[in-house]
Amino acid sequence: MILIKNGLIYEASNKADATGNFVKKDILINGNKIEKIAANIKEDCKIIDAEGKHVFPGFVDMHTHLRDPGQTYKEDIYSGTRAAAKGGWTTVCAMPNTDPVVDNISTVEYIKRKAKDIGACKVLVIGAMTKKLEGKEISEIGNMLQGGIVAVSDDGGCIQSTKIALNTMKYASNFNIPIIVHSEDYSLSGKGQINSGKMSTKLGLSGIPALAEELMISRDIMLAENVGCHLHIAHISTRKSIELVRQAKEKGLNITAEVTPHHLLLTEEECSSYDTNTKVKPPLRTEKDRQACLEGLLDGTIDFIATDHAPHSDFEKEKEFNLASYGINSLETAFAVLYTELVLNNKMDLSFLIDKISTKPSQFLNINCGLLEKGKAADIAIADLEAEILFTPENMVSKSNNTPYINKTLKGKIVTTICEGKVVFLG
């Protein structure tokens, strides 16, 4: 048993779209569940003093690239789950673009087994929609579901053929799992390096137009409406994309969307010095798009925040911009970044943020997490909001450090993370 004393505990509101608040209470953990939440609990057991600290339900990430199997020089299940734990995440969903691709039950089982054996947090598996993510043949979704996948996605890629996209959605809809899409029309994105706009013109880099995303989202919404399946838009990034989701939701379609911390906070301006840590897909967009992402999150069009943690090693980023890999490392930095930039700058309440990184994604996955209540999983992140945290290549727990926030000081430090009743991180 563990007793967390005197922390400010997140209490979700009962109302659907309202958020909660923080009250000073104790939490008693028994085994892997929360046993009791009350003031002044007395118990003779291990005690964590959370005086002056905030206590959150562990964060849940819908979009994580753990790179395992196959690209373990970038990250693996050991390092990735520890990076997650350091960032307050207690559940992450592993994306299937590994090597080999997660398009079969044995790879699903490999990840689940390894995560259970050596992982610091829970790992859920997302299976590929098509074999080898080639956008040609449907993968064995039924088999993978038996292995325990929670959703399907060809993330990293996008099924270009409308016919195959339609059939894959139809087939997947049979299993009632979310279909997560990375929306990109390759004929328009081409060899694009950054957002197609003022910055690409200035830097002489080829651009990825907003249209490349918007066209695919609009296609997939129409397909999902036709099929009647649950479509989830990954890392939404443009104003019009958000408008499309808003309209679809108004129509009552089963469409959801996520946004990354970097699309909420950064724009194409960040690319001005050819810093390859800003190279990501979808690209950092314009200030208007960024504002729209924030508004979309605030008004509920966007359902939650997901990191799209995409680690790449130094040699893949320390090179010419055109040759560098796409992706931003995010698990460790995300909470501090979001807290510093959004909560401290009064763009949202702390409780709203917690809702978007814990409660909402848990509801989406239908898992017993995301709330601090009796009977819920003992997944907890304790933060010292006054404490500063500096991310350096030396102190990153991830195997990679490809983030624009490297060497920056932020506020909001996770000091303890508990997953399934075990302390998995102590800062």
């Binding site: 003022k198 013109t201 830097l203 320390e318 010419e320 911009f321």
Partner: protein
């Protein structure tokens, strides 16, 4: 000649971090160097003991010759690394290549690369001054300086001139550097070409005029620059045929009638005669096309002199 501005150790990635005064100082120094190049004995001892390295990751014989001749004329030691990017892909990274070369003791780098931002990387890896000899479609500042010098030498000023640049703006490194430089020097630039070869936001980013009709673009121009049009853009689906392109955008005696009577003609070369420019114009008295090549050597001498801190 004194180095009144502090150019020592400066990088030339593009003209955006060089002020109008500094650009003028380069033009002035170029004039001196041009005079040297017209002597019988063309060599100056001012960079003796300095080592200049050309890093050419993309073929460009003319630009390489021009830079190497400039370094030779100033008595610098010259080493060359050339490789094409595709062979580099498989092996050594740019970082490793540059570390290796730098270990030999280089004072200044001149880099040509097909990817934008590469000059910045060479500086990051070495701390040495870097001259950008063209980084993909991004920038080619020495070309812009020689273009500006060529016009300025004839007109005495760049202020208030209307300069029209015609052609494949999207794939041109020359345009962007010229837009930045000419604007700083007070010229008004109009760019013209098919919409499919025109990047977005040109006006917002560079403060230039954008026209899609050649005659309108040429109206009252003091100087006109044609850009190289490559056949491969046709298969990229950006325009239908060279023939139609020529009909719409070639610099001919007929279309040049819309410009000022004695408007100067420039082209960064190599030219596609009969496509973006007709021989009657390319070879006319007002054409500066060969003069640009001559001036290129002088501009590059001036830059090497200013940055490596020689004294005349």
């Amino acid at each position: 000649m004194e180095n009144s501005h502090n150019f020592i150790g400066r990088n030339l990635f593009d003209l955006d971090d060089w002020s109008a005064d500094e650009i003028q100082a380069v033009l002035d120094a170029t004039k001196v160097m041009k005079e040297v190049n017209q002597r019988d004995y063309k060599k100056l001892p001012i960079l003796r003991g300095k080592t200049v390295c050309t890093l050419f990751f993309e073929n460009s014989t003319r630009t390489l010759m021009s830079f190497e001749l400039a370094a030779d004329r100033l008595s610098a030691d010259l080493v060359r690394f050339s490789a094409n990017v595709s062979s580099l892909h498989k092996g050594e990274s740019l970082q490793d290549t540059v570390y290796t070369v730098d270990a030999m003791g280089i004072d200044l780098y001149i880099i040509r690369h097909s990817y934008p931002g590469s000059p910045q990387l060479v500086h990051k890896y070495t701390g040495k001054p870097v001259l950008n000899a063209g980084d993909g479609p991004h920038a080619h500042p020495t070309q812009a300086l020689l273009d500006m010098f060529s016009i300025w030498e004839r007109t005495g000023t760049l202020k208030g001139l209307k300069v029209t640049i015609v052609g494949d703006v999207a794939h041109s490194r020359v345009v962007r550097s010229n837009l930045i430089g000419l604007k700083k020097m007070g010229a008004n630039v109009t760019i013209c070409g098919p919409k499919t070869l025109m990047p977005g936001y040109m006006q917002e980013v560079y403060g230039c005029k954008v026209e899609y009709d050649l005659k309108t673009a040429l109206k009252n121009a003091d100087a006109v620059m044609g850009l190289r049009m490559q056949l491969e853009r046709q298969s990229d689906g950006l325009f239908p045929s060279l023939e139609e392109y020529t009909k719409l955008f070639t610099l001919s005696e007929e279309t040049m009638r819309y410009a000022k009577k004695d408007a100067l003609i420039l082209h960064p070369g190599p030219m596609n005669r009969g496509v973006e420019i007709l021989p009657g114009i390319a070879d006319s008295d007002r054409s500066l096309i060969l003069e640009q090549v001559t001036n290129g050597v002088a501009v590059r001498m001036a830059l090497l002199f200013l940055i490596l801190g020689g004294k005349l």
